[in-house]
């Protein structure tokens, strides 16, 4: 309950601070609230709370773990990006919208009712449509927001249609009732059609192929701090909610969709990694890389049994690496440019930033001592024996991914200085992220 209250009131409190001209307190208040939520998950650990006894939300172990992970990512995002957000001069609006979307992200992890699921998805997405277009003077940002809004609302409509069909079959929004109904009638076509439509809606939200077309344009067009938020916290929340729904409530009907999900994972990995190798703009390249990671995230649903550990570890490890790399792109993009040649000789200008960027990229590529390797390892070992062909595709496409990640690292270390000046920015947060990437595997048993 306390977690819910803090996250719901945070946005309102931030707006109130703007009214009283206390802008300097916004970032501390947000960080404090995130810490409060984190403390709340620790306090509630081991206790399942059915909030208000309404069978709407259940704070169970899965929900608490997911909330802790999303809060860690959100705090890290805030620590990294707060100067960039404040530099826009519209800190209050942007922070408030971020806080609202964070509230939606938390709701995505603990619903036990379809009504809550739909509300959570909308609270998560509606602020994002605005945030994607928040750089109002920029035509590309406007286009990104508009595109995201149009396609996102169609996806929400499809999802809602799916929920309506399942309601039509089971006469209930309650996930426990739906779970028992599907267990008893696993070939009810109304339920299966509804599940398929919900799958489509979610696949759009996590940008899995063939519903990924919006992602590169929106990720590239949105202001980089927002892209970082969308690629990590939002995508993580969407996949965690999807996991809760499909591996939990829909588990008996999932067999029907396993083949479709496996093909979606395959398409996502092949298309996204293939397209990423062709990009000259590093931000767009990372957008495609983000789509390819959605393939790994989606694959976690195929792991038999309700074993959420691989998914959560992947969300955390990919999230930290992604936040770091988007932060570096933000500072390089602001001072030099987003094209690949902007990174030429970055190691000479700032060995520190180049090292952190390399660490983040190598982690996303899955190089052994780093967190990203363990993330991929858990997913692949979970699928081994069940979807061996899929694991082979995962490993092959990871090799392709290595190529475009190394292209950036090569530009930073191997090319000559392009003569622009470069300042590091937020050093301590970058160091923190780098340490997290190296040390995260030690925590993998905890998650």
């Amino acid at each position: 309950m306390i977690i819910l209250l803090i996250s719901a009131l945070l946005g309102v409190a931030l707006l109130a601070l703007e009214i009283f001209k206390l802008r300097a307190f916004m970032m501390p208040l947000m960080l404090l609230s995130f810490m409060g939520i984190l403390a709340g998950t620790v306090i509630q650990w081991g206790m399942s709370e059915n909030i208000l006894n309404q069978n709407m939300m259940m704070m169970d172990a899965f929900a608490l773990k997911s909330i802790a992970i999303l809060t860690i990512l959100a705090s890290f995002w805030l620590v990294l990006q707060h100067k960039n957000i404040q530099a826009t001069g519209n800190g209050a609006d942007l922070y408030a919208l971020i806080a609202f979307s964070f509230c939606g992200a938390l709701l995505m992890t603990n619903f036990t009712n379809m009504v809550m699921l739909f509300l959570a998805i909308e609270i998560l997405s509606i602020p994002l449509y605005v945030l994607a277009a928040s750089n109002r003077g920029n035509r590309i940002s406007n286009e990104a927001g508009f595109k995201y809004f149009l396609l996102g609302s169609v996806a929400s409509a499809i999802l809602l249609f799916g929920i309506a069909l399942i309601y039509g079959a089971t006469a209930s929004f309650d996930l426990y009732v739906i779970h028992d109904f599907i267990a008893a009638n696993s070939t009810n076509y109304l339920v299966l059609t509804g599940m398929g439509m919900i799958l489509t809606g979610f696949a759009f939200k996590i940008s899995a192929a063939p519903f990924h077309f919006w992602a590169p344009d929106v990720y590239q067009g949105a202001p980089t701090p927002i892209t970082g938020w969308m690629a990590t916290v939002v995508k993580g929340a969407a996949i965690l909610g999807m996991y809760r729904l499909f591996a939990g409530a829909f588990e008996s009907g999932l067999g029907f969709f396993n083949g479709a999900i496996a093909i979606m994972v395959m398409l996502t990995l092949i298309i996204a990694n293939g397209m990423a190798t062709l990009q000259a703009n590093v931000k767009r390249m990372l957008a495609f890389s983000g789509v390819s990671h959605a393939g790994f995230l989606l694959a976690c649903i195929l792991i038999p049994g309700f074993n959420s550990q691989p998914l959560m570890f992947y969300v955390l490890s990919y999230g930290i690496a992604s936040l770091l790399s988007f932060y570096v792109i933000q500072s390089v993009g602001q001072q030099i440019g987003e094209e690949l040649h902007a990174f030429d000789g970055l190691a000479q200008k700032s060995p520190f930033t180049a090292a952190i960027m390399s660490l983040a990229l190598l982690s996303m590529a899955g190089i052994p001592p780093l967190a990203g390797f363990f993330g991929k390892y858990y997913v692949i070992s979970g699928l081994m024996g069940h979807y061996t062909w899929l694991t082979i595709i995962m490993i092959l496409t990871s090799v392709v991914a290595m190529y475009y990640y190394l292209k950036v690292i090569f530009a930073m270390y191997g090319k000559n200085n392009n003569g622009h000046d470069f300042a590091d920015g937020n050093r301590w947060a970058l160091i923190l992220g780098g340490i997290a990437l190296i040390a995260l595997f030690a925590l993998s048993t905890l998650i």
Binding site: Q54, M56, G89, N90, A96, F100, L119, V130, G137
Partner: protein, 170 residues
């Protein structure tokens, strides 16, 4: 007896203004006829004891959405009707899809069981009181969260349309 007269009167108005919406040449008249249609449909809801639905229908459709329509028509100055030239293929497709819809609707009307409702027994579902109890008791959490959703949407709309925005953005 009185309700039966009311039913026929409202049905006549609804069908008449519905047709008039389509055939009137001036878009503003069209919108006004549509508002009349909404009012007569709201009257039907009253007859079926769905008071809340009737009120919401008038407030939301006749009040908000139609005013928006009118506003857009007047803003864009669409008073003169411009008949677009449409290709024959498009017309044929439109006829075909409308015909399909007719087939589906008549098929559904044939096979579906009519809901047997006793008109003398007042159903509680449409009353404001029962709706309020459902909303504030069983669905309190979603209700409160919907307000967060609207707040977020409002903040977003204000942000996107604010004038004195600091445009030196990253």
């Amino acid at each position: 007896m009185l309700t039966e007269y009311a039913f026929w009167l409202l049905s006549f108005i609804a069908v008449f203004s519905g047709i008039a919406t389509i055939i009137s040449k001036n878009p503003v008249y069209s919108v006004l006829y549509l508002i009349l249609t909404f009012f007569s449909i709201a009257g039907h809801y009253f007859l079926m004891n769905a008071q809340f639905l009737a009120a919401v229908h008038i407030i939301v459709y006749a009040g908000a959405i139609m005013v928006l329509f009118l506003y857009v028509i007047m803003m864009l100055n669409l008073n003169q009707l411009e008949v677009e030239k449409r290709s024959n293929i498009l017309k044929m497709l439109a006829v075909a899809s409308a015909g399909l819809l007719l087939v589906i609707l008549s098929g559904a009307a044939h096979t579906a069981d009519a809901l047997h409702v006793n008109p003398n027994k007042v159903s509680p579902a449409g009353m404001v009181e029962d709706l309020g109890i459902a909303l504030y008791r069983n669905y309190l959490l979603p209700f409160e969260l919907a307000s967060i959703l609207f707040l977020a949407a409002m903040v977003g709309a204000v942000y996107l349309s604010k004038k004195n925005l600091n445009e030196t953005q990253a």
